[in-house]
């Protein structure tokens, strides 16, 4: 278990070096997939390596000349990384520009300053009623597949796509098992380690990650931990598209709380919903995208309330409260948040919102909020 966690920490501590090395080791092209909904399986089936783009490890500098300061952290940091040449090992990019307005800037900026060998824009639809939505989602994925075939000069057969889906589904089921064990023994991993595990899945070839997870799960199953009953269980929710600062996760635990489960993008959202392997694989991928839960505020779903989902997760885990993690300048989450908060108030669920930026402004302010929240729900 320690060996696996150490390897995962190594991957996530310097994703630039890891992915650049991966390209050399595997002798394959790297395609950066901007979070959150690009079906990586199609890239994988094209014999390329899909990697989910991450929020960088440095303050934004050159990027300020390309995007406004009121864009979110990953937008500014990704552009900064790209124009500074930190992503030169990437061969191409895929941007689903309909999930958020800010993503609409990337293709043009990349074309001007990065000139990737491959670039694809997806217009995946909101999940609205009617056949046109379903048909268009499928057409978008067909267009994506064709563009990759044109790039590689090789056709992607249904069989190869199904094989890729199988590998990805295995990763999802292994990740689900990690979470299952964590729910039973929340002390077994730190929240930061869990986020690193999910993040590493976004960076590593899934075959390699599956091997690590298999070893990790064995260790987790064998390891006994002493339950710390005085710790108050809380569920972090939100933080779309990007990693949460590990310091904040540590802070939650340092303040006497513990995270048995989460509703974070770099968390349970990433591996939710396996793809159906029966029938047309592209249609199955479209169906996965069109699944309404876990509710994503970028997908235009209004007949299910995110608040209800979060409360159910909290109660299923016997948790006492919810910590909303809202990325500053994330319009989908920001627009939804007042209704989420109202639902918490209606249901009497303790909830606190912390605002996260790429550059941490004041950890002390976050600490104060979390500390008072912990006290409110009966913690330290």
């Amino acid at each position: 278990m320690e060996r696996v966690l150490s390897k995962i920490a190594e991957v996530t501590s310097d994703p630039y070096a890891y992915v650049a090395g991966l390209k050399e080791r595997k002798n394959k092209k790297i395609i950066g997939c901007f979070p959150m909904h690009v079906p990586e399986e199609i890239v994988h089936a094209a014999d390329l390596i899909p990697v989910v783009i991450w929020r960088g490890n440095e303050p934004v500098t050159w990027g300020h000349a390309h995007v406004p300061p009121y864009d979110c952290g990953i937008t500014r940091s990704f552009v900064d990384d790209a124009v500074r040449g930190k992503l030169s090992f990437m061969d191409g990019f895929v941007f689903h520009i309909r999930q958020c307005l800010q993503a609409g800037e990337f293709p043009f900026i990349m074309e001007r300053h990065f000139k990737p060998a491959y670039q694809k824009i997806l217009y995946l639809p909101a999940i609205y009623p009617g056949d046109p939505t379903r048909d268009f989602a499928l057409k978008e994925l067909e267009s994506f597949k064709t563009s990759l075939e044109d790039f590689t000069g090789k056709m992607i057969s249904d069989d190869s796509l199904k094989k890729s889906i199988e590998i990805y589904n295995k990763n999802r089921s292994l990740m689900e098992r990690v979470y299952e064990i964590r729910r039973a023994k929340p002390e077994i991993l730190k929240a930061k380690e869990v986020m690193q595990i999910v993040w590493s899945s976004m960076l590593m070839p899934k075959e390699d990650h599956n091997e690590l997870l298999t070893e990790l799960i064995k260790g987790m199953e064998e390891k006994s931990v002493k339950a710390q009953k005085e710790r108050i269980k809380v569920i972090p929710v939100g933080c779309l598209c990007q990693t949460l600062q590990f310091d904040i996760l540590d802070l939650i635990e340092d303040l006497g709380m513990i995270v048995p489960d989460d509703d974070l993008y770099i968390g349970s959202r990433y591996f939710a919903n396996p793809v159906n392997l029966n029938g047309n694989p592209l249609k199955a991928l479209a169906d996965r995208y069109l699944t309404k839960t876990p509710l994503c505020p970028t997908k235009g779903v209004w007949d299910i309330h995110w608040g209800d989902e979060a409360i159910k997760r909290m109660r299923d885990n016997d948790a006492k409260g919810i910590i909303s993690v809202r990325v500053k300048y994330c319009p989908p989450h920001t627009c939804y948040y007042p209704d989420f908060r109202s639902k918490m108030a209606e249901e009497g669920v303790p909830e606190v919102m912390i605002e996260m930026e790429h550059e941490i402004i004041s950890l002390e302010g976050v600490k104060t909020r979390l500390q008072s929240f912990a006290e409110t729900i009966g913690g330290v």
Binding site: H66, G104, E105, A126, P129, D135, G300, V301, W302, C335
Partner: protein
Amino acid sequence: MDVKYKVNRLQTTNEIRPLVDKHWADLRTAKERGELVAWASGPTFIFAYAMGMKCHFMAGYSAYCGGIGAGEEVLKVAEMAGDLPETCSYHRLHMGMGEAVARGIPINPQAILPMPDLMVAGRLCPEMSHYAEGLHRRFGVRVLPIDLPAVANIEDMPRVREFVYRQFKEVVIPTIEEVCGKPFDYDRMSEILSVLKKVATLRNQCWEFFKDKPSRWTLWDYGVSIAPVFYLMGNPAGITYYEKLLKELQERREKGIPAIAPDGEKYRLYWDGWLPWAFLGKFMRKFTPHGAVVLCGRYPWEFFPHPELIDPEHPVESWADLYYGMESHLVYTFSPKGTIDLIGKLIDDYSLDGLIMFSSKTCRVMNLAQPEVIDVLDKKYGIPGVIIEGDMIDSAMISDAQIETRLQALYEMIDSRRR
């Protein structure tokens, strides 16, 4: 600034306010007359109009709120109800208005609208969906959602056009028929488009007077005249309005009257992004003393610049083609490439000296890649540009000092290039 510049106000533009006031007053009282009410975002209200519904338009309502000075008080209600300041101010205005009614908080009565029987929610930008979702969750509004993707590459247009057209035919029209309890009125939609075609043709004739040196009117004059080419669509009063405006502009040309006295503009400028509805006067006061006149812009140019392509004989197909056709692809101007194409043409057509890129802090739909756009156009045309940050409605997002400094820098860049 030795020359004392002063705006020569147009007379005809005084006649727009009664038209606009009547539109919103009719909407406010529609339910009292037993009429069905719709709200709309994006270019979707035409379907409600065709069925005789009274219909609001998201940006139009917001502009109206800003124009009547109700923006601040409505935004305050939204904030009290939990909406966060960085949320789109159009979104906050609607939430604030709904919350004010629901909680009995007094606001300017002209800013209050009846809750709709149907919300025809076009998702041109994703935030239009967020606001419709919010209205549904908070007030139980029935929503008819339509995805209207802004297209970044022209070659993607045909497949997106097909998607949008199918939504019109298979989702929008059947739902509106169900809500109204009658078949869709294609003839009325054709009539609306016929009137629009006439109004937009007259409007284009008026645009010609921006090309005069000195210009005969300003973008702000056109800004307050937009309603007849959009949410007053189908109202023949729009034809009368633009005929009168055209006549006044012709008279100005004959008499040699410029948009600003004494002898016309020193700087001919382009305006990118939304018009700052609540601050039109404030900005005018920042331009005029310097002899600067804004002549054209991206948002005001999205209202059917090619009326010859409006085909009233095939109303639904034409509506899809106007936004997503290969000839008229209005949504393309929301992308950086489309923006560059448009501005490049405007620079040539209107002999522009500089670009003002208005970057809204709460609505990013027209902010995309603005620094890149300035750079591309400067390299190609030698025209300088600056970004000014602000908001359409929310005064908390407006910094006078920042705006003045950047405008001063723009004037100086233009001067230095002239030397």
